[in-house]
Symmetry: none
Subunit: 220 residues, 4 copies
Amino acid sequence: MSDREELLVGRFPFVPKQERAHQKREALLESGHKLFISKGYEQTTAKEIAADAGVATGTFYRYFSDKRQLLLSLLEDQIEKLMVPEPCWRTSDPERLIASLLEAHEQRLNEIGLHRVLPELVPKDPELAEVLMQAKRAIHERILSGLKKAYEQGLTWKDLDLETVTWSMMLLAENAHEKAKQCDEKTDYHQVAKVICRIVFPPDVIKNWQSVEFNRDNRG
Amino acid sequence: MSDREELLVGRFPFVPKQERAHQKREALLESGHKLFISKGYEQTTAKEIAADAGVATGTFYRYFSDKRQLLLSLLEDQIEKLMVPEPCWRTSDPERLIASLLEAHEQRLNEIGLHRVLPELVPKDPELAEVLMQAKRAIHERILSGLKKAYEQGLTWKDLDLETVTWSMMLLAENAHEKAKQCDEKTDYHQVAKVICRIVFPPDVIKNWQSVEFNRDNRG
Amino acid sequence: MSDREELLVGRFPFVPKQERAHQKREALLESGHKLFISKGYEQTTAKEIAADAGVATGTFYRYFSDKRQLLLSLLEDQIEKLMVPEPCWRTSDPERLIASLLEAHEQRLNEIGLHRVLPELVPKDPELAEVLMQAKRAIHERILSGLKKAYEQGLTWKDLDLETVTWSMMLLAENAHEKAKQCDEKTDYHQVAKVICRIVFPPDVIKNWQSVEFNRDNRG
Amino acid sequence: MSDREELLVGRFPFVPKQERAHQKREALLESGHKLFISKGYEQTTAKEIAADAGVATGTFYRYFSDKRQLLLSLLEDQIEKLMVPEPCWRTSDPERLIASLLEAHEQRLNEIGLHRVLPELVPKDPELAEVLMQAKRAIHERILSGLKKAYEQGLTWKDLDLETVTWSMMLLAENAHEKAKQCDEKTDYHQVAKVICRIVFPPDVIKNWQSVEFNRDNRG
DNA sequence: GATGAATGAGGATTCATTCAT
DNA sequence: CATGAATGAATCCTCATTCAT
């Protein structure tokens, strides 16, 4: 990033104004993020965010019109992190693939953390809802597109609606991390992955894969 | 008390004091319900609820210690509506069964409506969280028990963790009504039901049922 | 009291209306008294008083226009209890006399109890202040009159203003019970009595008395 | 900013931020003081105090957590004003000394004014009660210590409990200003002083002083 | 008369937002 | 630009008082 470059060039140590401003904005975003997650959105005040970021209350309002806008910025910054790579179902053992994707996804969710705050806000903030919906749709599209290819290759159930399958996968994936709460045990991503596989692939396809893998493993 | 006498004499629906009070309580609950759903919990004030119920602010506090307690009452009143009958998987076409259960469940969810408010509150109200968790566990148990029986009868996948299956079913069921939002079309409960069936039953079992049903249909 | 008479005459057990009303009034006064003392005047609500008296809130307002009026009634009922007998200084050992009067006075103050509540109210309720002032003046007059007689008999200091002496005596008497708080020991009424005696009588008079008493004691 | 400029120019007491804040705090304290005295503590609202101080309601809460804390601050600020100098009984005409002390004390009490509010609060605020008791004990100690010295010099009554004497003096001193209310005439501090002297000194000691003073006066 | 539910004005307190410094 | 004190509308909740039963 240009900041570093400037530093490297041994420039005048005084970071340009824009830069300082940017840092403050970042600090505010970070503090907002932290506080939203730990105390909830409504319970967090602009003053607190500013204090936590080490700036004055008024400064908050220089960078963000209000709390809500900070949240939206936060989302825009982080929402792409949620994006999943388009899965290629041919390559390998799908159960393991999915299990690892699930785990990675939870990782990202936890980094973002905001999924705990959003349900509180979506109902009353249509703009926010729209932003999130866009993101979800994008992910949906990507997964659906992967499924369609798999479908064309005869890998999936013939009689299931792929939209519904996509939706189900996303739902299970998004909530996998909370399964523990209900079942009193650590989430077993592999089990969830197996469930997802049953939604996508008929047993013969799975069996096929397993034998392929078996062969590969044996040979390897 | 004269109330009872009047009741005994079979008078016209004389409304005893308790009854009146009860009506007011009900009105408040209803208004609270309505406003919580439409504006969100935090955005709703006790004053508004009272106004909507057609009573004075102070009256609100006669019946509920505060907003939170009204919500809890609301939940206690309605939570059992969420309870599902223990499914008997043998009886009939499971896809249709599940589809109808889903639709019924959505019906109930919509009646309750609070599922939109709860995510906002659960993180910051451990008591509430506990109440809900209890309810979820109860439903979980019931579904799991049904699945176990099916398992013993060899109807389910052999290699899936039944807990995970139960959790997946509940998750899909609870969110089926929101699928529309993501897919821009009316939720097709039958499709979701099919997905759920793939999670529970191997294809041969399903095929079996279908043939049974086919026979029955043909004969009937 | 007429209640008892009626009971004694074996009247119809149904206590006449006025009587019942009177009882309720009394109960309210008593409850008010109790609560004012234990919680303070401002902290006590009409509802509480009614509840404590075992009547409905509305009933309170049938008997008293408001809290304040109840307090005034309470005072009117009890203020005469504060009246002291006109002391006759000739009769006996004045120190003992005063000590016993002090103790008796404290007894009465404690029965009344309201002296804890009054300072809270006097500044803002001129009527109440007036009532109390009247009472104080009456007592003042009585003591002053006693002192004047003693003065005429040459028993008191010649050069002290009797009004001031009266006031001092009253002040010490009224507060004797609180001396303990400051001195961390039980109030020694005899010590206070001695102080009061120094205010009233010159030492020779006291000595005289003591010898008289000495003689009497010895002879008795 | 112009402030700094003004400072640099060495202008007259420029008021820095802290100072401004301090002024506001002072204004609030003063308004609180005034209103507590004129309307009573309970009858005064934070809003009123703020309004009287010419600031917004919220500003009140920037400087004080609540009404009670403002009162405590008021006390802490003023309580030392109540402290009396340790009296030296040898020096001069004790009656005049005491009379002037009384007048000075009343002056201070009136400046403080809070003695009218405190009785209302002490019963229900143990912390406040403690603060006041500490102050009273300090004064008590000081007076007692003076008396003890006088006692050792044979100036006081031999047979009076010095604690009780101290307590009596304080009581009379604290209430001297209210004597007028009961006696319908301006308080004559000299009369009260004489009374106090009778409590402390036997007549011969007083006579002695008077002759000394007589001599001095004649000579002077 | 008695009841106690209902009322709603009013007090304490918070917090998003502004603005003089 | 940054600051943070100041603002005052808006909340929560209480309680004196009324009034239908």
